[in-house]
């Protein structure tokens, strides 16, 4: 495997990690707010809080990791994406900032306030929408590069495109779906029957829209970037497997059995779709201007980054394992003892 393929695979994996844990986080924030207006907050609040409090900071790092690594491996992307993403990127930063800060204020401050919950719940749904514009832009058609090399971002094209809206829709519903599926597993593990009942309902409600909006994005790509669509069809088996895992995941939640396995299936469902989509997008990073080959960093930097990455992982994996052992998979902690 060439360095650039290793690089993009590492980065894509981090983005995938962010997608899963941030979805849990964002969705949980929304459910937390939603439950406070529907009067079921007291039932699910403690479950959500107990999961989120030790991990909220870690979630953010996945994102930082992704974009710092991206500039490292593919410096030219900074030039193109940086210019195009000024507005959506800044909006996403502001939302992330409000969300992170108000989570801490609400949680560690002396008294929780409704306005904090609202800011934190609402921003959680807007962030995926803002961040998903990166994927939309990568399909091409929203950036124009003049002869002098100046990058022009076509805001209007983005806002009026049916493809970009279908991606936003998919981002929103998958956040709610992933989060509810995880919370079902977590509440079940905690033996918290009333909370489980509520989050299980959320999970089932959001499962159908998730699969429908995935199909929608599929067709929208067909209309927007035929080349990418055809490459995706070459990998149809990956999307087929994704669908199969979706069915299995929902089946177990429906049957209220093996919730842990069910969440693993959710991860597999998204993994196959995400890597299927990503590998079909290659070699382009920004269609049709940037490919992973002609804008890769110099070789010595690539080696240094990959080495740093491997050494870093040796440190991170045991630490993450410790974190999970102490909180996520510690039955006493999960049950609130």
């Amino acid at each position: 495997m060439s360095y650039e393929v290793i690089g993009i695979t590492v980065l894509w994996t981090f983005l995938f990690g962010y997608l899963i844990i941030a979805s849990i986080d964002f969705g949980a924030g929304f459910f937390s707010y939603y439950s406070s207006i529907t009067g079921t907050r007291h039932l699910i609040h403690s479950i959500i809080d107990r999961y989120l409090s030790p991990v909220w900071e870690v979630t953010n790092v996945f994102l930082v990791f992704f974009f710092v690594g991206f500039i490292g491996f593919f410096p030219d992307t900074a030039y193109y994406y940086g210019t195009a993403l000024l507005i959506p990127g800044s909006v996403a930063i502001v939302l992330l900032a409000i969300r992170g800060a108000y989570y801490a204020f609400n949680h560690y401050g002396s008294r929780s306030r409704k306005i904090y919950t609202l800011m934190y719940g609402a921003s959680g749904l807007l962030i995926p929408a803002a961040l998903s514009t990166v994927l939309t832009i990568s399909e091409g058609g929203y950036i124009e590069v003049t002869k002098e090399g100046k990058v022009i971002f076509l805001v209007r094209e983005l806002f009026t495109s049916s493809y970009s809206w279908s991606v936003v829709l998919l981002a929103l519903v998958s956040v709610l779906y992933i989060s509810a599926m995880f919370l079902s597993f977590y509440a079940h593990k905690a033996g918290d029957a009333p909370a489980f009942q509520i989050v299980r309902k959320y999970a089932l409600v959001w499962s159908l829209p998730t699969i429908l909006s995935s199909l929608l994005v599929f067709f929208a790509i067909h209309g927007h970037n035929l080349e990418h669509f055809e490459k995706m069809m070459d990998r149809a088996w990956m999307f087929g497997l994704s669908f199969l895992f979706f069915m299995l995941a929902v089946y177990f939640v429906w049957k209220k059995q093996r919730l842990g396995l069910s969440f693993i299936f959710v991860i597999l469902q998204f993994a196959f779709a995400f890597y299927g989509y990503g590998s079909a997008h290659l070699p382009y990073i920004l269609y049709p201007y940037l490919t992973i080959h002609d804008n890769f960093t110099n070789e010595s930097m690539a080696i240094a980054l990959i080495t740093a990455f491997v050494l870093g992982l040796l440190l991170l994996i045991p630490s993450l394992y410790l974190l999970m052992r102490l909180f996520l998979f510690n039955t006493n902690y999960v049950k609130g003892k």
Binding site: P75, A101, Y102, Y103, A304
Partner: protein
């Protein structure tokens, strides 16, 4: 420039300085406070003294709020680098992305263990187990400051590559990290962050003492923080002197602009204060003979390179002289306060709780933060017009986007909201939960066990 219309370079510069200016307040606290928490907890365990453990615990509680703001504004500056300076990042990505990448690892490490530390106060039988969890937090927070300052050192003095026709080739990532600017910069940043946090925590204690709370808990806290402040003051001052010598050798134009030193000469005087006339004459300044030569080379007769050796469009703005003088004034104040406290502490009849001294300590905290701000503005403006010294001008690095002014407004609003609410949350947090009550609770439990 601001008045005659939209210029993305100016707006990008303002927005970047605004974000950094806001971020470094929280980032400095993020670097220094874990060390202070660790110190308090360690003393508490060693002496089996609940007061120090409580101190660590209460500092940690407040720390989380500042970390949250530090994390989110840090994410902001991380992304803004690419959004506002895309051409710069294109070059920097080639040569300096390794420390940027390592910084996120350090941050990752810190985030994981901070989460564990905060939720395991009573979970381990052996109290040292909990203390050890803090060590990765201390290492992680200082390491991220270390790596990000390396990036900044590179911008001040880029090394580790060959420049051919404006293109960077033969990049050596490790050599790029070892810029001559690196040792003094990193040491100065770390030491001054510890110093600032010691003063900030001392000020909180001084405030409580001034309000008439005189539990021994506060007295222990004051002594601990002020002794730390003194130690870090000494180290910061020593490193500061080395930074001056670094400038004389590697960035003489910055030192010359700071000291309004135009002609290259030996026995160079140091100028304090004063104003500059239009034909570059210094008026009303206090001249210390041989001062600059001593500062730059530890030798009163040494030659110091003057500003006239540099083309006019490569000179830093001359107003950094004022910044530097103000900064040194602040430093003088902090030296004085920490020295007086130490003398009072050592003196047999000394009284470290005099009201004026407590007030002076309270004032030292905002001054320490202002010193950090002034120091950074001095350092950053002092390398203008370069974004990468000698390679890329700041104007060439900025975005060409049409909406930077709007984003500036958006972020100004964000920082206002975050600043106000974080202070309010912190105040309320400690007002609703007094240290005395926690001590009383502890004593009740302890006597119940007996």
């Amino acid at each position: 420039m601001l008045l005659n219309g939209y210029d993305p370079v100016i707006f990008s510069r303002i927005l970047t300085s605004l974000t950094l200016g806001f971020h470094i307040i929280y980032a400095t606290i993020g670097v220094g406070v874990p060390l202070m928490i660790a110190l308090a907890e360690w003393i508490g365990i060693r002496r089996n003294d609940f007061h120090y453990l409580l101190l660590a615990r209460r500092w940690a509680r407040g720390f989380v709020i500042t970390v949250a703001v530090g994390v989110v504004t840090g994410t902001a500056i991380g992304l803004q680098l690419s959004l506002l300076w895309p051409s710069f990042m294109r070059v920097a990505g080639q040569s300096i992305s390794l420390p940027l990448f390592l910084e996120t690892f350090a941050f990752f490490f810190e985030a994981i263990f901070l989460g564990i530390y905060l939720y395991t106060w009573d979970r381990f039988k052996n109290r040292m187990t909990h203390f050890w969890l803090l060590i990765p937090v201390v290492i992680g927070s200082s390491a991220s400051a270390f790596f990000i300052t390396i990036v900044n050192a590179f911008m001040n003095y880029p090394v580790g590559f060959t420049l051919t026709n404006g293109e960077i080739t033969d990049v050596n990532p490790i050599a790029a990290m070892l810029s001559p600017a690196m040792p003094t910069k990193v040491a100065h940043v770390l030491s001054s962050a510890y110093l600032t946090c010691a003063f900030v925590l001392a000020a909180i204690t001084a405030w409580s003492l001034l309000k008439g709370k005189n539990h021994v808990y506060y007295k222990k806290a004051l002594k601990l923080t002020m002794v730390c402040a003194f130690v870090f003051m000494v180290s910061t001052a020593l490193i500061g002197d080395l930074s001056g010598k670094y400038l004389a050798k590697y960035q003489p134009e910055k030192l010359a602009a700071t000291e309004w030193h135009f002609e290259t000469m030996g026995k160079a005087p140091l100028v304090l204060g004063g104003v500059l006339t239009e034909d570059n004459e210094v008026r009303f300044g206090l001249k210390i003979p041989y001062g600059l030569s001593i500062l730059a080379h530890s030798n009163p007769f040494a030659e110091v390179i003057g500003l006239n050796e540099f083309p006019e469009d490569e000179r830093p703005p001359l107003w950094i002289h004022y910044l530097f003088d103000i900064k040194m004034g602040y430093v003088g104040y902090m030296v004085l306060v920490s020295l007086i406290f130490l003398v009072e502490m050592i003196r047999k009849k000394g009284n470290t709780y005099r009201r004026w001294l407590l007030r002076a300590i309270m004032l030292a905290a905002p001054i320490a933060i202002l010193t950090i701000e002034h120091g950074w503005i001095f350092s950053e403006v002092g390398r203008q017009p370069w974004i990468l010294r000698g390679i890329m001008r700041t104007t060439e690095g900025a975005t060409t986007s049409n909406h930077v002014d709007l984003m500036l407004l958006l972020f100004a609003l964000l920082y206002l909201v975050l600043g106000v609410s974080s202070v309010r949350v912190l105040l309320k947090m400690f007002r609703n939960n007094q240290a005395e009550d926690e001590i009383a609770n502890f004593e009740k439990e302890a006597s119940a066990k007996r």
